[in-house]
Assembly symmetry: C2
């Protein structure tokens, strides 16, 4: 068991790398911009960050690239996820001489695993609640994201349940808007979901967006629970680490973690490093973007993020969470996702890629399931489309010739 916290960075700089590494290590531990009397050798020996830097071949930048490794004694800060942020991702990005710096990975001593709970449900707990032991979970996001009333939302949920969806989530833009109040939306949607569950034996999982103030989040969580709901959603970058940890202690339902704001967070963080902290804090599902998404992220990066979610964090506390694929997902992405990931432990969310199906919502859900079944059976999309009408229509709508 290492008693140091270790962080690895990608650093771009035109400056002298060893000197800059020493400066960064100093700033993030016992040093500052000038030598001061109090920073003696004994103090440095017990508190200074260690550093190691090596050149890195990097074709993506015209600037010299390095792998910088920093480590800190646990005694500097203790096993605190909130405080580790200032140490590994605080005042280092903008130091003079740093052209670009990104936290690529982080290793925490096992003392952290004793303090934080990790996911309470993870893959197994989520599958149990939905009643699907093996298949990928086909899900959707309420669309339009905003503008629907609570009753409109429930009417859409009715159609989605009838269509056989596994999972529904609020859009991150909708939490408790005056035009679609949380309590009313919850009540009306859960009426629909419970009625459907009584009929079919399967309860659709709806991740209600609780993002807000802590007391609201707790109260709404309790309401979701009492209405028979089976998941809640939080926007991690809005709630933040302290609020999340306080909520997690209260939570009795799977936590679906949205990463909106990732577009700026990624300036300083790789997803591989970032997801570790949130998994240990206790999320159950983590958004990883999707193949051929509507954003700029490359497919390789998306798959690396999903794989990271499925890698154990600690041997005795793996904290495995369910990766959530979303963003412009349609029947076109089942094959490449399956082929790259080789795992069905995914939540596959299609919003527009479901609602825009020309045959309607039921056809949209069927087409998505058909695409995954074909992928897992090793049948090409084209081949499967020949024998499945909904899939054929979806390919015509969302495929490259559409």
């Amino acid at each position: 068991m290492s008693e140091r916290i270790t962080a690895t960075y990608q650093l771009h700089t035109k400056a002298d790398p060893e000197r800059l590494a020493a400066t960064i290590a100093g700033e993030q531990s016992s040093g500052t911009f000038v030598a001061i009397p109090g920073e003696d050798e004994a103090l440095k020996a017990r508190a200074a960050a260690h550093w190691h830097i090596e050149a890195l071949p990097d074709m993506s930048s015209s600037l010299p690239s390095y792998r910088l490794t920093l480590s800190w004694p646990l005694a500097n800060l203790g096993p605190s996820l909130t405080n580790v942020l200032a140490t590994v991702a605080g005042n280092l990005y903008e130091l003079r001489g740093v052209d670009a710096l990104r936290l690529m990975d982080i290793e925490l001593p096992s003392a952290f695993a004793e303090v934080y709970p990790g996911p309470a449900f993870g893959i197994e707990g989520t599958r149990k609640l939905i009643g699907i032991p093996k298949a990928p979970l086909i899900g959707t996001i309420i669309k339009p994201s905003v503008g629907l009333s609570a009753a409109d939302t429930a009417a859409l949920v009715e159609q989605l349940c009838a269509a056989g969806i596994d999972f529904i989530k609020d859009d991150e833009l909708q939490a408790d808007g005056p035009a679609c109040p949380f309590d009313e939306r919850l009540r009306l949607c859960m009426q629909v979901i419970r009625r459907h569950a009584e009929k079919t034996g399967h309860k659709v999982m709806y991740a209600f967006n609780l993002t807000g103030e802590l007391d609201e989040m707790k109260r709404r969580h309790d309401k979701v629970l009492s209405e028979g709901g089976t998941a809640v959603m939080l926007s991690l970058n809005s709630v933040g680490m302290t609020g999340f940890n306080a909520f997690r202690r209260h939570a009795q339902l799977p936590i679906h973690a949205h990463r909106n704001g990732w577009g700026y967070v990624q300036a300083g963080w790789s997803y591989v490093a970032w997801q570790k902290l949130w998994r240990l804090a206790g999320v159950d599902h983590m958004h990883v973007n999707g193949i051929a998404n509507k954003f700029q992220e490359a497919d390789d990066s998306v798959i690396a993020s999903a794989r990271a979610c499925l890698q154990p964090l600690f041997a005795h506390k793996p904290c495995i969470v369910m990766p959530v694929f979303s963003s412009g997902q349609t029947v076109m992405q089942a094959h490449p996702t399956w082929e790259s990931l080789q795992s069905t432990d995914v939540i596959f969310l299609a919003g527009g890629g479901l609602f825009a199906h020309p045959g309607g919502i039921a056809a949209g859900v069927r087409a998505l399931r058909q695409s995954w079944e074909a992928a897992m059976a090793g049948v090409s999309l084209q081949q499967a489309a020949l024998s499945h009408r909904e899939l054929r229509e979806a390919v015509a709508t969302f495929g490259p010739t559409a």
Copy 2:
């Protein structure tokens, strides 16, 4: 009173600007990557974001630059600081076609001012607690940042009090490290501060770093209060908005807000936009970096940040906070800071710039005060140094010829 939330962005793109603006507005309100049946004209009329885009002369980029303005009806999300984040700074930065996007400013309807408290102390309350009605507050950061025990820290505080410092803060790297436990540090430091206050009538303000879990933060706040402490510090990017708001409701002391992590947050946010949200949430002091800092930020940007903190947020609820200058600050920065800002309502923090004074801590504090007094009196640094030994030594140590 506007019932819309308005955000202004700087956008760099090679794509068609009007089309991209419409896409961003759609993604952040009722649209998605394809047209869907539910997004009818009536829904768009009530929920869609409005957009306006205009070309912007920008010498700093080879890419075409635009000012993009988006606005949303308050009914979409309600007056929630936590939820406004997903709307103004959520899934828009990484959309295809966006080369760079930065939130430059935000205007909130006054409904927000009814929900959130703003600063409880601000400038006036802070000055009253310290007992300095007009002058800039001369402060320091405990250095070395980490590595000192609680007793070492108290010994340093003893020297700082004797030297006549106004304000002390923990480094953001030190909250409750096992090597310097919070409770012990608080107890020992407050013994010193109280003893000094009894002697002089002036109580030095020490912003103890509470950053951690919410229950810890509340408990520690109460301990600070019961020990006679007069301020607490939080790292905003570690705590997050939900945790902050929960803490703010509990707080009875000024909140000193640290911005570490700003190096990546700034990829998506201008400080002008960012500080508005935290001021409304209720911080009292906000870090703005400093002139000729150890980071890369230009002086103009630092001064714009400080000015922003001193601008009213709402006419009936100004939420003015005290800008905190820090990062490599020494006697060399008093003149340019004063000349640019023309306000003494600042906390001026020198860590290394105080402790590294060759005459020791008392000389360091005196030199800093001499530099500000000279600046405010219109006396040049060189002139003042002639008649003030501590200032002369500081200029020799920290000045350009050092």
